[in-house]
Each structure stands twice: as C-alpha cells, then as structure tokens.
Amino acid sequence: MKNTGEKLAQAAKKEFDQSVDGLDAATLSRLNRGRQAALAETRQPVRQWLRWMPATGVAAAVLLALVVQQGPGDVGVIAAPAADLEILLGEESIEMLEDLEFYSWLDTEELAGDGDLG
C-alpha cells in the first residue's frame, strides 16, 4: 500500500510529464538554439583573463561595501540601502555583479525619489 505522499508525487509527475510533452514547436526550437549555443562554448578556447573576472568582481563588491560603510558625509558617495547591499553580497553574488551598473543606476533613482517625497 503506497502512502499518500508517494501517490501525490506520482500524480504530480504524470501531470508534469504531460506538460513537458505538450511544449510547442517554437519553444522546442528556442531550446535547441540554446543547446547549440552551449555546445559552441565547448569549442571556444579558454580565455585566461576571464578566469579572474569573478575574483575581480568580489574585490569590487568588498571595496564598494567599505566605501559605503564610511558614510556619505565622509567621501561624498551615494549610500546604498543596507538591504540592497545584502542582495549584492549574497551567496550567489557573482551573478549579481554583472549588473553593478544597474544597481548604481537604481541607487541614483531611489535618491531622486526620496528627494521628490521630501
């Protein structure tokens, strides 16, 4: 006698598989293009300088954190809210560092918004 948890998992798997089988041609085509792009990566020679990109990103984030902790009055930089900094320095921060420019813009916008409110 199977327990209810196992039955639920089986029923969920069945529904899920049907939804996978029902994917349309356009979606499958995009998946195929993505796969080909991935396979093309295996033929690319490794660029050594790219290996340093994550370390450089982390160093930039640490530097940013130190600058922000100094406070806006000391060095005249924009103070990022603590929550945003936490997001930037989360455990998967390497991915986020690709968008530093976006967060810089975001901070500018938030400060402008605060000004409007005040």
Binding site: T4, G5, L8, A12, G22, L23, L39, E92, Y103, E110
Partner: protein, 201 residues
C-alpha cells in the same frame, strides 16, 4: 617488426584529444537534449514566465558547457540543476529589486499583455479539448501550489519528483545536506497534500 606492431596498436587504441573532445561534445549534447524540456518547465514553474525560463535554461546550459563539460557525465545532472537553481534565485532577487523601482514607474498594463499565445495554440499531442482542459486545470493547480511553496521546499520537490534526482544528487543541486533535502521534501509533500486536496491523494 614486433615494436612496429605494438606502436601501431597503441596508436589505434589511444584516442587523440580532438576525438575525445568531439565525443564529450556529443555526450553533452545528448545530455542537454534529454534534460532541457524538463528543466524549462521546472524553471517556468519557479518564475511563472516562459521567456524568462528559456533564458535561465540557456544560461545554465552555457555555464555547464563552459565550466563543467570536462567533468564526468554522472556529475552533470546535479551540477546543471545547481546552476539553474542559482539562476532562479538570482532572478527572484533581481525581481525584488526591480519591483521596488517599478513602484516609481507604475504603468498600466494593456489588454494585449494578457493574451497568452502559447496557451491559445492547439495541443501538439492531440488530446481532446476536454482532456486538455482537465489536464491543464490539474497542472495549473499543481503549478500554483508548487510555486507558492517556500523556495527550498519547491526546489527539493521539483528536483526529486519532476527530475527524479536521488537524495544525494538533489543535495548537490541544492547545495545542502541530504538530511535537509529529506526535510524540505517531506514538508513540501505535506503542504501540497493539504493544498491540492483529495483529487491528488
């Protein structure tokens, strides 16, 4: 003469680097082709957007190929899903930040944005409209319930149930202990049983 024969035998059995690379690329292609559709649906349930899910799956495929194609084939499934789950978590973080920005730039949604072209397309596997409706309703309920689970429970449930990863593989994919996987999975099933009701039991 004997030495020449030996050299010939060695040169025939030892694969050149180029051939090994091609073999690895073929194996990787087969792995990705086998996993990509399920990965898409798993990502789609997590982010509730097919285009975003397609981008996340493509990113995961590229990162796996770029960084881990040299690893053993048996390591690919948990590594691939670890990359994908990290991508999904990052996506949610970015969304949280962007949503705060959108408070300042709220736009009214046009009616065209609500039209789901994919949902409106005919069923590609030939189910009757009634069957399609019944299945799509059941799947929609399931998707919503799974989506609403706490992140770690959702990850554990989808990797164990939909992708059929074992506990050890799921632990690698989630970056946690096997005990945590069991706990998250058990809680997810308990919550889903309560939400989905008798139809699913």
């Amino acid at each position: 003469m004997a030495t020449d024969s030996l050299n010939f035998a060695v040169s025939c059995t030892a694969k050149p680097t180029g051939a090994r690379t091609l073999q690895k690329e073929r194996q990787l292609g087969e792995f990705l082709a086998e996993v990509e559709r399920r990965a898409l649906r798993i990502a789609e349930i997590a982010v509730r957007d097919r285009d975003e899910a397609l981008d996340l799956v493509q990113d995961a495929m590229i990162k796996l190929a770029r960084n881990y194609s040299g690893r053993g084939i048996e390591e690919w499934p948990p590594l691939f899903y670890r990359i994908l789950q990290n991508g999904v978590r990052d996506w949610h973080r970015r969304q949280a930040v962007r949503n705060r920005v959108m408070v300042w730039f709220q736009k009214s949604k046009s009616a065209d944005d609500d039209l789901d072209v994919i949902a409106a397309a005919p069923d590609p596997i030939g189910r009757s409209p009634d069957e399609e409706l019944q299945n799509s309703e059941a799947m929609r309920d399931l998707e919503l319930a799974v989506h609403d689970l706490p992140t770690r429970q959702r990850e554990a449930f989808m990797l164990r149930t939909f992708e059929c990863l074992d506990v050890a593989g799921t632990a690698v994919a989630m970056g946690c202990s096997q005990g945590s996987v069991k706990t998250h999975y058990s809680r997810a099933v308990h919550t889903l049983r309560e939400k989905l009701g008798e139809h699913w039991q």
